[in-house]
């Protein structure tokens, strides 16, 4: 089959010709539910004092600028260790203060200083539900709670909680934060204020955002996990060696990484979590997990793919 050249760049002025009905960008509710309105946003006006768990201090505020980008954020991170590490580094590199939350009890102590909370657990687990509930109870109603929604929609994670308007989904998946774009998904309840605050936070961390509909796997993790799964079906069928498959995808079609080594970096159990969630959601055979991938997820090891 024909493959792309390395140098080919899409024309900047091109317009989409084919469009499926309905809006491309998901809608967010324009008005804030009355109960959610909190008149004064404390954290926006009070300077944030560095505290014990604070990893970085924000840079000198840009007084000449106005608007949301002025907010001195304190971002609270919890959930999967690998992702907390990636997000913590990414924010701190851009001078945004971060609090890594090790236990749920401590959220109450800094509740008034936190401007955005990000729950990064991938798999839909009991712990994830506990985390979200604790955050929802402890944080003022105007503080957005961003939750990893690659393996469960944000609506499904939050529908039983109190302040539905402040939940936003994020496609947090290991290795992706090295790139300049973050995918977000509002639920049917998410307010524009919530979405805007979260967008502004990522923009101040020099990340573009893309708003997509609240759906399992969102865009990049869903496509990527399917590619990794097919690569492992190919191993399973003994078509080629794992190392050769990775080489082939890098040199035959310019993929940024070999899919198997990439899957290993992401964590095979995370890949399986997304695929299982897709399978559960769609009941479609296309999302069945390659048996060897499930074994790798359980064993947590792999062979000979190291680049």
């Amino acid at each position: 089959m024909k493959k792309q050249t390395k140098k080919e760049k899409p024309k900047s002025k091109k317009k989409a010709l084919v469009r499926i009905d309905a809006a491309s960008a998901p809608s967010v509710i324009d008005s804030v539910p009355a109960a959610a309105i909190v008149p004064a946003v404390e954290s926006k006006t009070k300077p944030v004092k560095p505290e014990r768990k604070l990893k970085a201090t924000p840079p000198a505020s840009k007084k000449e600028k106005t608007g949301k980008t002025d907010v001195k954020h304190l971002v609270c991170l919890l959930g999967d260790e690998q992702l907390v590490r990636e997000y913590s580094t990414a924010f701190q590199e851009k001078g945004i203060a971060v609090q890594e939350l090790k236990n749920l009890g401590s959220v109450k102590n800094s509740a008034k200083k936190i401007t955005v909370a990000i729950e990064l657990t991938i798999a839909s687990t009991e712990q994830k539900r506990k985390n979200l509930q604790a955050l929802d109870e402890a944080l003022p109603a105007n503080v957005p709670i961003v939750s990893n929604a690659v393996a469960e929609t944000i609506l499904s994670q939050s529908h039983h909680l109190k302040h539905l308007h402040r939940f936003v989904g994020i496609a947090a998946f290991p290795t992706l934060l090295a790139n300049p774009l973050v995918e977000l998904s509002p639920s049917l309840h998410t307010t524009k204020e919530t979405a805007d605050t979260v967008k502004a936070l990522f923009e101040s961390a020099k990340k573009e955002t893309a708003m997509v509909q609240d759906s399992v796997g969102m865009v990049m993790p869903r496509i990527l996990c399917q590619i990794i799964n097919e690569a492992l079906f190919t191993v399973q069928n003994d078509v080629a060696s794992p190392k050769d498959i990775d080489e082939a995808m890098k040199h035959g079609t310019n993929y940024p990484h070999g899919p198997i080594a990439w899957g290993e970096q992401i964590g095979f159990s995370n890949v399986v979590a997304v695929l299982d969630a897709l399978y559960l959601h769609y009941h479609e055979e296309r999302y069945k997990v390659a048996p060897i991938l499930r074994q790798l997820a359980l064993a947590g090891i792999f062979w000979e793919t190291k680049e």
Binding site: V18, V219, T234, T253
Partner: protein, 285 residues
């Protein structure tokens, strides 16, 4: 003595293979039924080599020497002295089988017969000959002089010696090789299926627009091109038929089910760049 390579079919892939073979000091016999096709093919090789000279990738002498190594052939019997014959005609199993039957009769018994098929069964092509052991898949990627990979495809009856020789020659052509068992889509086209199929499914569910999917895949995933840009470049007709072929050959494996969106694109003639309209509009304004 220099190894000689015969190439059957002077289309895009045949020309690309002739280009790199001549540059790497092989004697090339470029065959096509149509003399005009060969003439245009050699012109294209000339043009591409000139560009490499301009970029200082090869010298003017390299180019001149390479071009003298390409012999234009319109009589297939003239390929009888080739050490390796690579077939790059259209993707039609009957055409390929008939051709291999003929090549098997013409070629010396030590000659390796290779097919550049991207989606047909090497085993089936080989079975048209009396010596299936010498038939192998050598799957190059477009554009041949830029893409580093060749999939060396082992049919059911392909001999180990044939695999070794085909691999060695591909390496002398400056390519990385991987050995692949003869299965639908081999490795690259198979593992790449979800890149297109899942993106089309996401579009069909209105998760977001196709421009946004392309932006996300490039900027969140680090891919050089988004799936819709790439399908437009490959050609939706070609991309769809590869998916369909893999789907049929796997007895309707659900993971490879073709997309109705793309089928309609093909029916509407929205092939992509080559027809100026695909998922995006490429018409000059």
């Amino acid at each position: 003595m220099a190894i000689s390579i015969g190439i059957v079919g002077a289309g895009t892939m045949g020309a690309g293979i002739a280009h790199i073979a001549a540059l790497n000091k092989f004697n090339v016999s470029l065959y096509d039924i149509n003399e005009e096709v060969i003439r245009r093919s050699v012109e294209k090789i000339n043009y591409e080599m000139k560009r490499s000279v301009d970029k200082n990738k090869i010298s003017d002498d390299d180019m001149k020497m390479a071009l003298t190594r390409i012999k234009k052939r319109t009589n297939i019997n003239d390929l009888d002295t080739c050490d390796l014959i690579i077939e790059a005609v259209l993707e039609d199993i009957k055409v390929k089988r008939d051709l291999f039957k003929k090549l098997d009769q013409i070629a010396h018994h030590t000659t390796i017969l290779a097919t550049n098929t991207s989606s047909l069964s090497v085993t089936s092509i080989a079975s048209a000959t009396k010596h299936p052991g010498r038939v192998v898949g050598m799957h190059f990627f477009n554009p041949v002089h830029q893409m580093k990979l060749v999939e060396i495809v082992k049919g059911t009856l392909t001999s180990d010696e044939t695999i070794r020789s085909a691999t060695a020659i591909a390496e002398q052509l400056g390519k990385k090789t991987i050995q692949v068992k003869d299965t639908p889509g081999f490795v690259v086209n198979r593992v790449a299926r979800p890149f297109y199929g899942e993106a089309l499914k996401i579009l069909g569910e209105n998760v977001t627009s196709l421009e946004e999917i392309d932006r996300i895949v490039k900027k969140s995933g680090g891919f050089k091109m988004g799936p819709f840009e790439l399908m437009d470049m490959i050609g939706n007709d070609v991309n769809f038929s590869v998916t369909e072929s893999i789907y049929e050959q796997t007895f309707h494996e659900p993971r490879f089910r073709p997309s109705q969106i793309q089928q309609q694109m093909v029916e509407a003639g929205l092939f992509g760049k080559k027809s100026k309209k695909g998922f995006y509009n490429y018409e000059e304004k």
